[in-house]
């Protein structure tokens, strides 16, 4: 469970464009987001979402994946093709890992699976907003990113440390992609499980720890004095290096 919603003084009613065709969901989500300090615009299909995004310049967009007229992923693709780099959070309807990987590759900054913890949504929106408020580009839309000597080609799913290409298992590659595109954010093990596996393992969170260990091995990172991935005891992990987009 994330923090309960509380308007941050630095947030001057950021505008969220919420696109979901289920009135039961939007009817409940609007008051929750408004109490959390957001101004909310609601649309009920993909075409309306695209029009509203172009007209209203929202601070961020929440897109449901399955919508009439145009699905959320197509809206996202068109936004990115049009050069609109608004931060986008996808509410996925499909639990498959391929769907999640594609959502990130196509430029979603974050996503949540339904049913989600409403406070987790608020926390994710704030994290995305913090980056854009600091004038940092939304990394979700970047094809290539760099953090010091680490370079990621997110489209080709390849990574290099200096001149050496990193050999990673598919899940470790997905985990590294998520960490690098969410730098300086405390990411709980549960969140990382959902991101990489699409579900939380009954076996607890060792699956995440195993992949983090794999990443540390290939990055030659020392857990005691980390350069790349910091362990936040009892809470999760944080990617430490500053990340810039290079394409």
């Amino acid at each position: 469970m994330a923090d309960s919603p509380r308007a941050s003084p630095s947030d001057i009613a950021p505008v969220v464009l919420l696109a979901d065709d289920d009135a039961a969901v939007t009817g409940q989500l609007v008051p929750l987001l408004e109490r959390s300090g957001f101004t909310v615009r609601v649309v009920a299909d993909g075409e309306a979402a695209l029009l509203a995004a172009e007209r209203e310049s929202p601070d961020l967009i929440v897109l449901d994946v399955l919508m009439p007229k145009m699905d959320g992923r197509e809206v996202l693709r068109r936004l990115r093709r049009a050069g609109l780099a608004y931060p986008v959070l996808l509410l996925t309807q499909v639990g498959e890992s391929t769907e999640r990987a594609m959502a990130l590759e196509e430029g979603a900054d974050d996503y949540l699976n339904k049913p989600f913890d409403p406070y987790e949504l608020v926390a994710r929106l704030r994290a995305v907003l913090r980056r854009s408020r600091r004038g940092l580009p939304a990394l979700g839309a970047a094809g290539q990113v760099r953090a010091g000597q680490l370079r990621l080609d997110r489209v080709a799913r390849r990574a290099w440390l200096a001149d050496r290409e990193l050999l990673l298992t598919p899940k470790a590659a997905l985990l590294l992609d998520y960490l690098v595109t969410h730098p300086d954010e405390l990411l709980s093990r549960e969140r990382l499980l959902e991101v990489v596996w699409g579900w939380d393992a009954i076996s607890g969170t060792r699956a995440v720890d195993n992949r983090i260990a794999e990443l540390r091995r290939v990055l030659a990172d020392d857990a005691a004095q980390p350069r790349w991935i910091e362990t936040v005891p009892g809470q999760g992990y944080r990617f430490l290096a500053e990340v810039v987009t290079i394409g």
């Binding site: 409940q28 639990g95 339904k114 406070y119 298992t169 195993n210």
Partner: protein, 283 residues
């Protein structure tokens, strides 16, 4: 497939049937003067023909069965996805409505707890659908290491782990580390859930006939004989499990993970004495 065998059999049967009918009607008089070598060759040919026919029929039947099973499995997965899709939005709306209520009233707390339970089932059903046909890694997996890690999670139980070292160590199995981890942890989790504090849990792993066999045994409550066959099904919960948390999807997950690794799983149980679950995975 070699359909010509089928054609040959049909043509042969037709010719033979016609000849027999003609002979019976007295239209044909058959005089047999067969060389022994020719007789042997004819008998051998006939035997070969029968064998090939039987084999062809068996292959056709096996394919039909496999096809029917695959269709049923595909339909089942489609159903799981549809169910997941239909339940997601109402559950999301209820979760947000409860957050909006922010009520500590007992009724609201009770609803909240039941919604969490439903959400858990939806997520587990999705997990099951994904594990059934999602991508799977194939790396050498050390099951002994997984067992030791799972043993460390058992609280208030007497746990033993038996791993062969002599004359050679346990081989690894090719598979998905996370999925095998998930399966073993589910089984160990069940052993803890369905036993009392102080009970004994034995985790054993050994090599047998090109397989690695994992056994998880407990001195817990056991399973009633009439429920043993149904415990592997989705949402199966025993009669006596009320009050014990669980979605009834744990063993279904274990079964799916095992089958995806080309393995098998089974269990033996005696009410009041305990249960042994066995998973066999090819090396």
């Amino acid at each position: 497939m070699r359909r010509w065998w089928l054609v040959l059999v049909l043509v042969g049967a037709g010719v033979l049937g016609t000849a027999l009918a003609a002979w019976q009607a007295g239209d044909v008089v058959l005089v047999f003067r067969v060389e022994p070598a020719v007789a042997v060759a004819a008998v051998t040919g006939a035997a070969l023909l029968v064998t090939a026919t039987v084999r062809t029929v068996r292959i056709l039947l096996d394919r039909a069965r496999a096809g029917a099973t695959a269709v049923a499995a595909r339909e089942h997965r489609v159903f799981l996805r549809r169910l997941d899709h239909e339940l997601k939005n109402p559950l999301t709306a209820i979760l947000i409505a409860l957050a909006n209520l922010a009520s500590t009233e007992p009724a609201a707390v009770a609803v909240s707890s039941q919604v969490s339970r439903l959400s858990r089932i939806v997520v587990d059903l999705r997990k099951l659908a994904e594990i059934s046909d999602g991508p799977m890694e194939r790396v050498p997996v050390d099951l002994a290491e997984i067992l030791r890690a799972a043993a460390a999670t058992c609280v208030d139980r007497q746990v033993s782990v038996t791993v062969p070292e002599v004359p050679w160590p346990l081989p690894t199995v090719p598979g998905d580390q996370d999925l095998l981890d998930l399966a073993v942890h589910n089984l160990v989790d069940n052993a803890v859930k369905y036993s009392r504090p102080g009970s004994r849990i034995a985790l054993r792993v050994f090599e047998q006939d090109h397989h690695v066999v994992v056994e998880i045994a407990d001195t817990g409550r056991g399973i009633n004989a009439e429920e043993i066959d149904s415990v592997w099904a989705e949402l199966a919960r025993g009669r006596d499990t009320a009050g014990i948390p669980g979605s009834g999807l744990g063993l279904a997950l274990v079964r799916v993970v095992t089958h995806r690794h080309g393995g098998t799983c089974d269990l033996r149980s005696r009410p009041g004495e305990g249960t042994v679950v066995r998973v066999r995975l090819p090396v």
